[in-house]
């Protein structure tokens, strides 16, 4: 399996694949802002390099997005075991547009049956007093993850930075971790494609995903087909100095990301708010996704 850093694509290839990506994203109904796609394609070759070589941040007035980027780059200067990647989701700001769901599918090239970040919708109350609360559900990256001990081959484990990783090349596909997750955050790659049953496989389906900083091409029965998959906070983007795809695409600015071990970070401030809560805390899972009610 190739590393992301291996041989940056030539200009022409890059252009070609970019155009293809954009076209197919539109085809797939994935309305990701084109600017994001440009940023992504432009930075893949720098994925594993030192944070110093990252593109300069714009000198715009500091909003939450810029602050989070600064927080993130500060965290990247620290040794990996001192980072604590944490997500904060402000439910009052979530408008239920599902842009994060779609951006995540596009970013991680998710096949049918796999969705790392669905948005749960509910309708509460009776007309005229009705509300529709929305609850985006990424992987909680539990500090005490119930999915980890059950894995017979230790193919899933907690990284030093707290993110729960799946080693696709080790996973035997027994799917024991799926029922073990109290949040339903784990999915199986059945080897299906969006174009199944149509005349031709489309090029966007051959685009690799960059999960865990590697290049994964879904072909035949090779990994990640036949493996369990889940949200990993877009580690490949984060380690390249970018925010997770769900954060950058959030229309309401409801999703925050950063290093909770840094008291100056935005997520540390938000996590300390009174309205913070975590899902199914009573199970002792200690999730690192914090909701603001």
């Amino acid at each position: 399996m190739e590393r992301t850093t291996a041989a940056p694509p030539s200009k022409r290839e890059k252009r070609g694949s970019l155009d293809r990506t954009r076209r197919n994203l539109l085809k797939a109904g994935a309305l990701v802002p084109a600017g994001l796609a440009v940023a992504r394609a432009g930075s893949t070759s720098q994925a594993a390099e030192a944070p110093q070589s990252m593109p300069a941040l714009p000198s715009a007035p500091e909003g939450p997005m810029l602050r989070m980027l600064k927080d993130l780059r500060r965290a990247l200067q620290k040794p990996v075991e001192q980072r604590r990647w944490t997500m904060v989701i402000d439910l009052r700001k979530c408008i239920g547009c599902s842009a994060c769901t779609v951006a995540c599918i596009a970013e991680n090239r998710l096949p049918p049956g796999v969705v790392y970040r669905p948005v749960v919708e509910e309708e509460v109350g009776r007309y005229p007093n009705v509300t529709r609360p929305f609850l985006p559900r990424p992987c909680m990256q539990c500090d005490n993850p119930p999915c980890v001990p059950v894995c017979p081959v230790s193919a899933t484990y907690k990284r030093p930075d707290g993110v729960v990783e799946i080693n696709y090349e080790k996973c035997i596909g027994c799917r024991y971790c799926i029922p073990a997750c109290p949040y339903g955050a784990r999915y199986f790659d059945w080897g299906e494609n969006w174009t199944d049953g149509t005349p031709a496989r489309q090029p966007y389906e051959d685009e690799p995903s960059h999960e865990y900083g590697r290049v994964w091409r879904r072909r035949g029965r090779g990994s990640p087909v036949g493996n369990v998959r889940k949200c990993q906070f877009c580690l490949h983007r984060v380690e390249a100095g970018m925010l997770p795809a769900c954060v950058t695409t959030c229309v309401g600015g409801a999703t925050y990301f950063g290093d909770a071990s840094d008291p100056k970070s935005l997520v540390s401030e938000l996590a300390a708010e009174e309205r913070a809560f975590r899902l199914k805390e009573e199970l002792g899972t200690r999730p690192k996704v914090i909701y603001l009610r």
Binding site: V114, V115, V120
Partner: protein, 440 residues
């Protein structure tokens, strides 16, 4: 006498050939389905990311239970000295072996990457119950084989002398064992073998309990599924394992066993054991259902509602309650009052052994029907995200084929191996002793 025996075999032979042909044909269909599954991956199943375990996992735990149940039944003979059951000891061990092999095949077929199964041995995570179980299965398999060899080595050796394909196979399986000629040392060897069988069986009791209770623990430790989570679950696993094991041996003995007074008494004992375990199982079921429903906690009630009322209702009412409960109990109760006791008891065994499969299905599938978070089922929809499941044709075909091949292999073994004291075995033993004595 010999001729008469041969003629009886010939008559039964035609039916047997037909049965074998059917099994082989089903096996062939299953192999095609299995090849397709291996070539295309798990997309040939109807499983989803929400209902991630289905028919094959249910069959895996079913066969583990059948194996542990049969094995524990055999220990009644070899460890606890219940000599009334002596005649079915080897048969129970043999079915324990084939059932375990079946279980391992079904869980292997269910893997997303079956070619990586060896990783469990190379990179074991001992915190995973599944890993511990895998090692227990291997230990248990070795125990069964060692016991079988010790029990049958003498008969395999004497029958091996008769030559022919079967003879050669048997002398190969006897691993070169030669029973001593003089009766005194033969008696000594038998005594020694008996002691070893007792030792292995004694070790086997906790291992078999670990094998099946532990398989229950795979589910019982999952806190995220309140339907599974709890200390009673592994015990329920064990009790229904004992029920299915006793039921299977009852059925097998009714079909293949000796038709004499002692055989009838043995059948009654087996039928009684089956009823005892089935009744215990019903008791646990009642206890679990009633406490769960009393709680009104949707985590419990929704699962029970799906199980007793949804599309799988028949599995619960007909499979679990009637087949693995009331019907065999009634059949065994009625068997004492009719002339064809063997038919009733055999039928009770067959119905109960099949019915326990319903218990296994209801352990696996209903736990997956409730979304982990309310509304998750409608948050993002797709066929592979559905919280419902019904096995695909490929899953059924693979299952039927594998079971047919297993039954075929088991039947052939029953014919080839000296698993009972047939006249043939007795004659061969006597002949051997006689010839040795003349030589001496």
């Amino acid at each position: 006498m010999q001729a008469e025996f041969g003629a009886a075999r010939g008559r039964a032979g035609r039916g047997r050939v037909a049965a074998y042909a059917v099994l082989a044909a089903l096996g062939l269909v299953g192999m095609v389905a299995l090849a397709l599954r291996m070539q295309q991956g798990l997309r040939t199943t109807a499983l989803t990311s929400s209902v991630s375990w289905g028919l094959w996992v249910a069959l895996y735990i079913y066969f583990v239970g059948l194996s542990a149940g049969s094995f524990l039944l055999s220990t009644l003979v070899y460890v606890f000295g219940m000599h009334r059951l002596e005649r079915v000891g080897r048969m129970a061990l043999l079915s324990a072996f084939f059932a375990l092999a079946g279980a391992l095949i079904f869980i292997w077929v269910d893997l997303g990457h079956p070619e990586r199964f060896w990783e469990v041995f190379l990179f074991p995570n001992y915190r995973s119950v599944m890993t511990v179980e895998t090692f227990l299965y291997v230990a248990y398999l070795i125990l069964i084989l060692a016991e079988l060899w010790l029990l049958m080595r003498e008969d395999m050796a004497v029958l091996g002398l008769s030559g022919g394909l079967r003879g050669r196979l048997l002398s190969l399986l006897s691993l070169g064992y030669r029973p001593p000629a003089d009766p005194a040392s033969l008696e000594e060897e038998r005594r020694k073998a008996g002691r070893w069988v007792k030792i292995l069986g004694s070790v086997g009791v906790p291992v078999a309990i670990g094998v099946h209770g532990g398989t229950g623990a795979i589910f019982a430790v999952v806190q995220a599924r309140p339907y599974w989570f709890g200390g009673l679950f592994p015990i329920v696993f064990l009790v229904s394992a004992l029920a299915s094991g006793a039921a299977l041996v009852t059925f097998l003995y009714a079909v293949f066993g000796e038709r004499d007074e002692e055989g009838e008494a043995l059948l009654r004992t087996l039928g009684g054991l089956t009823v005892l375990f089935l009744a215990l199982d019903l008791l646990f079921l009642a206890s679990e259902t009633l406490t769960a429903l009393y709680s009104r906690n949707p985590e419990h009630t929704e699962v029970w509602r799906a199980m007793t009322g949804g599309r799988y209702a028949a599995v619960f009412w007909i499979g679990q309650l009637v087949m693995a409960g009331l019907a065999p109990i009634a059949l065994v109760a009625a068997a004492g009052k009719v002339r064809s006791q063997r038919l009733f008891l055999g039928l009770a065994g067959a119905v109960a052994a099949a019915g326990v499969l319903a218990i296994r299905l209801n352990i696996v599938i209903p736990a997956f029907v409730r979304p982990e978070i309310r509304g998750l089922d409608t948050a993002y929809q797709g066929a592979r995200l559905a919280y419902s499941y019904f096995p695909s044709f490929g899953e059924w075909a693979t299952t039927v084929g594998l079971v047919a091949l297993g039954v075929l292999a088991f039947s052939v073994s029953l014919e080839v191996l000296p698993f009972m004291e047939t006249p043939e075995v007795v004659t061969a033993r006597a002949a051997l002793l006689g010839s040795r004595r003349q030589e001496g």
